[in-house]
Amino acid sequence: MKEIVTIGLPSKGRLKESTLKLLKKNNLKLISKGGDRDYFASLNNLPNAKVIYLHAREIIERLGDGTLDIGISGLDLLYESAINLQKKIKVMKKLDFGKADLVVAVPNDWIDVQTVADLEEVSFYFRDKKNSRLRVATKYPNLTNKFFTSKGVTQYKIITSLGATEIYPFTGSSEIITDIASTGSTLKANNLRILKDGSILKTQACILASKESLPDIKKRQIVKLF
């Protein structure tokens, strides 16, 4: 069993800011020898803990392969990951930040589309009249597939997006999108609207642990410090 407890923290964005606030609130002080650009850190009162700053998606991957013992990431990213990875990770605590919804959004001017059932009808229009499938841009192909299947939508094609998903319908890269929305203002600003029953998942930041590390009492105790 490893002596050092490896903790993965988000390396950028709002998730990082909120994580740092949480640590501060719980009297956990981060020390980085190389300053702000250092990918490693330690915690002042936990000499056997090593902190690595990683992309929130990477944290899930590394918890799955056992490189990390503990990590902070989003529930959306956990549920989007492969099933075999999810089975290796336990949600220890849901945190009070990073709250958002993964939603289905369509162009504002598609005024005839209010529900997923409408979307399903329109997808058949694409198949029958245009001999193509409705394209859905997303960073969450697995969650999107699962949701659409549960709602009876089958005639679509996933376009994997790496960022700025909101502009896809207006650049000709997709017709609709699924994306994370916390207030909905970004979608609105980009002429998109959320379907009435288009909420795929409610997400928030979580403390996650590798199931491999859980039998170690020391590691379980560290989770309680957050």
């Binding site: 598609w110 005024i111 694409f126 198949r127 245009k130």
Partner: protein, 354 residues
């Protein structure tokens, strides 16, 4: 070994009845299948990319593969074919095998629907008898009855299409009936807001596209939708009729009696709804045959008669088949081509005779 012997004996029955051996391709163009079956089916297929980047798959289904072959051969005549081979697909049930040994038959391009239905089901029953499988139950349905029932109901066209499309997804179908009952697919607040946008959009160039749809297409669908004449009470009544219809289940000799009683109760003209089941022939057989209006909802391409043969003891499926008149068109045929077929599952057959 056992399954090879079964395959040989069953093939002999097929040959004697005029079916000709045909070997469908093992590799198919994945997009061909996904275009018809949708994105979700993709995960059940065994796919790979060839050197040119084209996505190929191992044939997930021998009926689909046989139809693809029929179209590639450019056959215009009625074909009576049989095959013996493997289908490769994952299942949602992890206990199921990825490789399915099957021996099956298809009648493609013939318009003699009732007699072809009879020939397919009788040939399969004869084959089962030949390999001395005795204690079986036959479940039979006719999915066209549901389509005809929906057509006879006074509901908006888009609701008819929606219910017919989702007949294959029982769970989601239940949700749809809930929406129909509560008339909750139109949100009055959003519609009021969108009506303003409707007027503005009417002034724009109607051929302008918004994310792949022309403005006139969006406006025409919107207009049709808000004019939906359905009232709450009608939605509730329609859902009740559909639910009650799907509960009809009885021995085949009582099917007419049950259906007539149902039509009378809801004042549905019975001449609007006809089945193509080979009833007389089935009544003469010695098998226990159960008709169920709810049966056959798990394979989307069936359009009429659908049946399965199960062992009485552990209800293991040993054969399944049905009519699929729309499949060839969805695979690229310019004309409608009628077809009916069935396959015997050799993996399950070997298990029940172990």
């Amino acid at each position: 070994m056992k399954s090879k012997n079964y395959s040989k004996k069953i093939s002999e029955v097929f040959k004697k009845r005029g079916f000709v051996f045909s070997e469908p391709d093992i590799l198919l163009d994945s997009n061909y299948i996904i275009q018809r079956s949708g994105e979700n089916f993709k995960k059940l297929m065994l796919t790979f990319e060839d050197d040119s980047g084209k996505s190929m798959c191992l044939r997930p289904d021998l009926t689909v593969a046989s139809c693809v072959k029929y179209l590639e051969d450019n056959s215009r005549r009625a074909s009576k074919i049989y095959y013996s081979g493997q289908a490769y697909r994952r299942s949602n049930n992890s206990k199921d095998s990825i490789i399915n040994d099957q021996v099956g038959l298809e009648i493609i391009g013939s318009e003699k629907k009732t007699s072809d239905n009879k020939e397919v089901i009788n040939t399969i029953l004869k084959s089962i008898n030949k390999i001395k499988i005795k204690n079986v139950i036959v479940n039979i349905g006719d999915v066209s009855l549901f389509r005809q029932l929906i057509d006879s109901l006074k509901i908006p066209e888009r609701w008819k299409l929606r219910l017919i499309r989702h007949f294959w997804r029982p769970k989601y179908f239940e949700d749809l009936l809930g929406i129909l009952e509560a008339n909750s697919d139109i949100d009055p607040i959003t519609v009021d807001f969108d009506k303003k946008r409707f007027s503005e959009m009417k002034k724009l160039n109607q051929n302008q596209e918004i994310a792949g749809r022309k403005i006139y297409e969006i406006l025409s669908r919107f207009d049709k939708k808000i004019r939906d004449p359905r009232s709450f009470a009608e939605g509730k009544k329609t859902a009740k009729i559909i639910k009650e219809f799907l509960k009809i289940s009885c021995p085949i000799d009582q099917m007419d009696k049950y259906l007539e009683k149902f039509f009378k109760k809801y004042n549905i003209k019975k001449n609007l709804i006809k089945n193509e089941l080979p009833i007389k022939s089935l009544l003469r057989s010695n098998y226990k045959i159960i008709f169920s209006a709810n049966f056959g909802r798990d394979i989307e391409y069936y359009t009429g008669m659908v049946f399965e043969i199960l062992t009485k003891k552990n209800k293991r499926e040993i054969a399944r088949g049905g009519r699929y008149d729309d499949l060839l068109k969805s695979l690229g045929s310019k004309q409608n081509i009628s077809a009916v077929g069935a396959a015997i599952n050799l993996n399950n057959l070997s298990k029940v005779t172990r």
